[in-house]
């Protein structure tokens, strides 16, 4: 498409130019065909995968591609898979030169046509950095790219904000992955507790709401009854409490609220909510089992959901599953002597509060 010619023609010829332009739009690419790509079968895939995995001495390779994994996501069928010969085509050798190191730098593609065509229009690259607000002091709600349960200050300028480094350089993944324990080599990415839109960031010099305490006391509802010191308890209450404790204490004492909380915090720090999405209208409850090492065993299952259509439910479920699987790292840190209390876990992910941030 010789757009450049047309454009410069248009600029010079004026009224006549745009009439000529008509041709430019007739050269639309022909309609694209869309087709399924043939796939390796699941069995074959697993076989290859397991075979190829053997030589890898990685510690966290253990999660096998269990066939059940597909059961918990009915909307993501892999039935279309058809066996495909796995011999490597010769052309693949030519790929190597492709992997030039700096390719992946996050700069936008700037095809030559853009600048050629329109000297007045520069392609999109600028971030909102141009729009520095005027006031200097903003105690809480700084616009950050990240909104997290607890606010996180900007890291030191030269601290690497990088999930990757954090993960690899902290084999000791304290279950809480706690942003309130910044002794890790890399600082967590700065986060504010609410979504700071440009409209919000303008006038308020004082925080609209005070920061939440770093570790909030768990709500009454989520706290095991027995761990609640009930000072004014009468005999009946004592009985009830004792009964509750008894019922919940098959082996060893129940989880303390702190232990339960650390599990909650560990997962919520990996639960990424897309607040503008339809899926953020969906509350899902998922169930899974942990091994004694605190690692997820078997599938993560969707138990129930509330709100949204099937697609949104699926998306919400996937986000919940990712949170659980991703934050387990080497295993959730829960007291082994209480294993029976946390072997099976059900987590409800309710994004309602997030939507309002």
């Amino acid at each position: 498409m010789h757009i450049g010619h047309y454009i410069s023609g248009a600029a010079h010829v004026g009224v006549i130019g745009w009439v000529l332009l008509g041709g430019a739009f007739q050269s639309e690419p022909p309609p694209m065909e869309v087709a399924g790509v043939s796939m390796v079968s699941t069995e074959e895939f697993n076989a290859i995968l397991n075979a190829e995995r053997a030589p890898f001495p990685e510690t966290d390779v253990e999660t096998p591609v269990a066939p059940e994994l597909t059961e918990d996501s009915p909307a993501l069928p892999s039935e279309e898979d058809t066996p495909v010969p796995t011999e490597r085509p010769a052309e693949t050798e030519t790929i190597e030169p492709d992997t030039s190191p700096d390719l992946s730098d996050l700069t936008a593609p700037k095809p030559a046509e853009v600048t050629d065509d329109a000297p007045t229009l520069t392609p999109p690259t600028e971030e909102m950095a141009v729009l520095i607000p005027r006031e200097i002091v903003r105690p809480t709600a700084r616009p950050t790219n990240r909104v997290a349960p607890e606010p996180v200050a900007e890291p030191e300028p030269d601290t690497k904000v990088d999930d990757i480094v954090r993960e690899t350089s902290t084999p000791d993944e304290s279950a809480a992955e706690s942003i309130e324990e910044p002794q890790e080599a890399t600082a967590p990415e700065a986060a504010s507790t609410e979504i700071v839109t440009e409209a919000k960031e303008q006038p308020p010099l004082a925080p609209k709401a005070s920061l939440r305490p770093v570790v909030r006391p768990p709500s009454q509802a989520s706290r095991p009854a027995a761990s609640t010191p009930n000072v004014a308890a009468g005999a009946d209450a004592a009985v009830a409490a004792a009964l509750a404790e008894a019922a919940a204490a098959p082996s060893g004492p129940p989880l303390t609220s702190g232990e339960k909380d650390s599990m909650r915090v560990a997962v919520q720090n990996c639960w990424v909510v897309d607040v503008g999405s339809q899926a953020s209208n969906v509350t899902v409850t998922v169930g899974f089992s942990l091994s004694q090492e605190g690692k997820v065993e078997g599938p993560v299952n969707l138990l129930s959901s509330e709100g949204g259509d099937q697609t949104s439910v699926n998306t919400a479920f996937q986000a919940a599953r990712r949170a659980i699987l991703r934050c387990q790292k080497g295993g959730y840190k829960l007291p082994i002597e209480k294993y029976d209390h946390w072997r099976d876990i059900e987590i409800t992910f309710n994004p309602e509060k997030m939507r309002l941030k």
């Binding site: 007739q26 030519t94 190191p101 593609p109 990757i164 979504i195 607040v275 996937q318 099976d344």
Partner: protein
């Protein structure tokens, strides 16, 4: 009494330990999460033929840029990758991608033969260790590589977010040049990301506020080419245009298509009074929908075609109202401080975007269609004229800067208020197309 209780309790405890050795699950509720971009990896697509390597590189980069540009995703750069994808059919080493915290992985391959380009791809949920959806293949021409890349990115976006994408879309807008008191304006069209600009008119007369037809093949706009503002309809392919309404002594502006593309609503001004009219695209007499002495303009259809939201100053200041497509009584929906204008119904139908003026500043905001849950997304000297991405997720608008040297630019912002960014300089009045077919 106490002793009795304790004995009783002891019995119960023993009983329950036997009876519930396998006790109920630990139940946790999580209401706090993280709002942050989801890390993904798009290793270079495999070039399956000799000529394909440049396309493979460009397309992978385009996909990564599309996804990162939403603010919902963050690309993990290739230098951090442990695995390389050298064969599209090889199984994915999930452990390698987990290790770098890539939550989604996109692999693909490109082949070229002559002018024909074929792109295939797969999306993986790394931590779940499974593919999201199944592989897809697009066939097209090398000319259309950008569109194919956008289409792949749309599919990837859709599989991860569960919502439609918007990358394979275009934006029609007004290109602006020159100082404020002698600004040259021309209609132009570009890809959603600012690439591939074409001009649709010259700059000999003022043009304003183009709007796409639902099929994306036509554009309504206002032009002064007869000396008076008048609504025109332009065919994007042929660039042929015609005046839609030509009643002497009137001006017409602020047009918009109905969702089925058959009708146009717009403002017509007669004797200084501006009201909203509806007429068939193919002609016929305009039907009057409002008839107050107030300024009633900027009408926009609901996606089901049953209602129209518009602005009116019948209360004394600009406010938003909703009425039936046939006119009649209108219900006011905006009640906050300040003035509200240019309402646009979202394609999802759940929100209305608008321009708000309050205390000397302009905002782009959204509210529910009943006016509740108003949220302001931006603030500046002058923001106006929101338009929705085809999936109802992103809003693009005009931002004009202050002062004698001020100029107009296009900005976009996520409906959550995040990810505000500039799309193009020297441009105003954007209108987003539907997804291309």
């Amino acid at each position: 009494m106490t002793r009795l209780l304790i004995t009783l309790l002891a019995g119960l405890v023993m009983f329950s330990q036997v009876a519930t050795a396998q006790n109920g699950p630990l139940r946790i509720e999580i209401t706090d999460g993280v709002v942050e971009p989801l890390p993904f990896a798009v290793p270079n697509f495999v070039a399956e033929t000799g000529q394909a390597s440049q396309y493979a590189r460009d397309i992978s980069l385009l996909i990564a840029t599309d996804l990162s540009g939403t603010g919902l995703f963050r690309e993990i750069p290739a230098k951090a990758h442990i695995s390389k994808i050298t064969n599209f059919s090889s199984p994915v080493q999930y452990a390698d991608w987990k290790a770098i915290n890539a939550q989604a992985l996109v692999t693909g391959a490109v082949s070229v033969s002559g002018n024909n380009l074929e792109v295939k791809f797969r999306v993986y949920d790394v931590f779940a260790g499974q593919e999201l959806g199944s592989g897809l293949r697009f066939k097209g021409t090398t000319d259309g590589w950008r569109r194919m890349g956008h289409k792949v990115a749309d599919e990837v976006y859709s599989r991860i977010t569960g919502e439609g994408g918007y990358f394979d879309s275009r934006v029609v807008f007004v290109s602006e040049m020159g100082p404020k008191n002698d600004r040259k304006k021309r209609l132009a069209i570009m890809d959603y990301d600012g690439a591939d600009i074409h001009y649709l008119t010259d700059s000999s007369s003022i043009v304003l506020a183009p709007r796409f037809s639902p099929a994306g093949d036509k554009v309504l706009y206002t032009s002064y080419e007869t000396g008076f503002p008048q609504v025109f309809v332009l065919d994007v392919g042929s660039v042929q245009r015609r005046a839609l309404q030509n009643q002497k002594g009137t001006m017409s502006f602020a047009p918009r298509f109905s969702p089925d593309g058959s009708k146009v609503v717009m403002s017509i001004t007669e004797n200084g009074n501006t009201d909203i009219y509806s007429m068939a695209v193919n002609g016929g007499a305009p039907k009057r929908l409002t008839s107050s002495p107030a300024i009633e303009t900027a009408p926009s259809f609901s996606p089901d075609g049953s209602k129209i939201v518009f602005e009116s100053d019948r209360s004394g200041t600009q406010q938003l109202y909703v009425m039936s497509v046939n006119g009649g009584e209108a219900k006011r929906i905006s009640f906050g401080q300040g003035r509200y204008g240019t309402p646009v119904w979202s394609p999802r139908g759940d929100l209305i975007a608008f321009t708000k003026q309050n205390k000397g500043r302009f905002h782009i905001g959204v509210m529910r269609t009943d006016g509740s849950e108003e949220r302001l997304l931006t603030a500046s000297f002058l923001d106006e004229g929101p338009t929705w991405a085809p999936n109802g997720r992103v809003i693009m608008f005009t931002r004009e800067t202050q002062g004698a040297s001020g100029g107009a630019s296009l900005y976009s912002v996520d409906v959550s208020g995040r990810n505000l960014k500039k799309v193009a300089n020297g441009a105003s009045d954007p209108a987003w197309s539907p997804l291309q077919k």
